[in-house]
């Protein structure tokens, strides 16, 4: 289960913000453009998402806070996720898993699992076959829910294979 998400420099989260999640239902509300879907994007990104279209950007550095009327742009974006693993839901030998991902303006990236440097691939492998990885159905983006039944037969097939 997801315990905490920390965002720093990710899209509109110029200032470091932590979100603690309930083990039941956590609801996120707010006006248009306030940053709700940006939180969903941060979750995808920290789980290893590379697809630009899914993150609504054209290049990876676009997810770094670009500045606003009142603030200068930042030089990096960082997301940290803390996962509870006492039920060994994830294939790692820790009861708590902390994943960190950073990207810098010069396009350099950093990946850490429990503060140990690793590759993007190592992060993606944790979530393979859990429904949270690429092609999984646990993350439903804005405007995407109808695609599950409208998509053509072979797309649905992929959905099931991911689940099976």
């Amino acid at each position: 289960m997801l315990k905490r998400l920390s965002l720093y420099g990710f899209k509109t989260f110029a200032k470091k913000r932590d979100i603690d999640f309930s083990d039941g239902i956590t609801c996120i509300v707010g006006p248009n453009g306030s940053g709700k879907s940006n939180i969903a994007d941060a979750i995808r990104w920290i789980l290893g998402e590379q697809g630009m279209k899914t993150l609504r950007s054209d290049k990876l550095t676009e997810i770094i806070f670009a500045g606003s009327e009142s603030n200068k742009p930042l030089n990096f974006a960082e997301v940290v996720i803390l996962l509870e693993n006492s039920s060994e839901r994830f294939p790692l030998n820790y009861t708590e898993i902390e994943i960190t991902r950073r990207i810098y303006r010069d396009n350099k990236s950093e990946f850490l699992i429990n503060r140990n440097p690793c590759r993007l691939k190592d992060i993606q492998e944790i979530f393979l076959d859990t429904g949270l990885g690429k092609g999984g159905i646990s993350m439903i983006g804005q405007g995407q829910i109808e695609k599950i039944i409208s998509s053509d037969e072979s797309e649905r097939r992929t959905l099931f294979e991911e689940a099976a």
Binding site: T12, I25, C27, I28, V29, S37, E146, E161
Partner: protein, 163 residues
């Protein structure tokens, strides 16, 4: 693997049918394999009958009807193979009051076994939250997060329009 796919499919199909007719008495929904012979290559067909209506292709369903069918399919897959957590971004956008309440109760029930993170503008959905966060732009262009309590008058600023 062919057997495994077949078994999973049958379990999900059964769950899908049961859940749909429980939530929509008088309605029916089914999943079927388009090619029974060739399970590993077969497509999957979805058949949905809202209560009182005759069987037709799912493309004719309304926005709200499609959303409900899709969510029920998703939750059926979850029941067979739960994910560590699930993020829903405004899945209730196309739903009227009645369906929003059905969806919210359904997710509340599932949340006893699974964790849900739900982004919404909808008061009915919000009221099912165990924890509620409001996102604002106190400073232009910068997201700020505040903890909200249900019943807090501040909540009205966060509630989308009355539909």
């Amino acid at each position: 693997s062919r057997k495994r796919f077949r078994d999973t499919f049958e379990m999900v199909a059964e769950e899908f049918s049961i859940m749909f007719r429980t939530l929509f008495p008088g309605g029916r929904a089914y999943l079927s394999l388009t090619d029974e012979e060739n399970v590993l290559k077969s497509g999957i067909e979805i058949i949905v009958h809202p209560p009182g209506k005759n069987l037709q292709s799912i493309s004719l369903l309304s926005g709200g009807e499609k959303t409900m069918a899709a969510v029920i399919l998703l939750l059926s897959i979850f029941k067979i193979k739960p994910a560590p957590f699930c993020v829903f971004d405004e899945v209730d956008a196309a739903l009227d009051d009645s369906n929003t309440a059905i969806l919210a109760d359904c997710v509340k029930e599932f949340s006893r076994y699974s964790q849900f993170i739900i982004i919404t503008h909808n008061k009915i959905t919000m009221e099912k939250a165990d924890v509620l966060y409001g996102i604002t732009m106190e400073e232009p262009g910068i997201s700020h997060i505040i903890s909200l309590k249900l019943g807090d008058p501040v909540l009205d600023e966060f509630v989308g329009s009355e539909k």
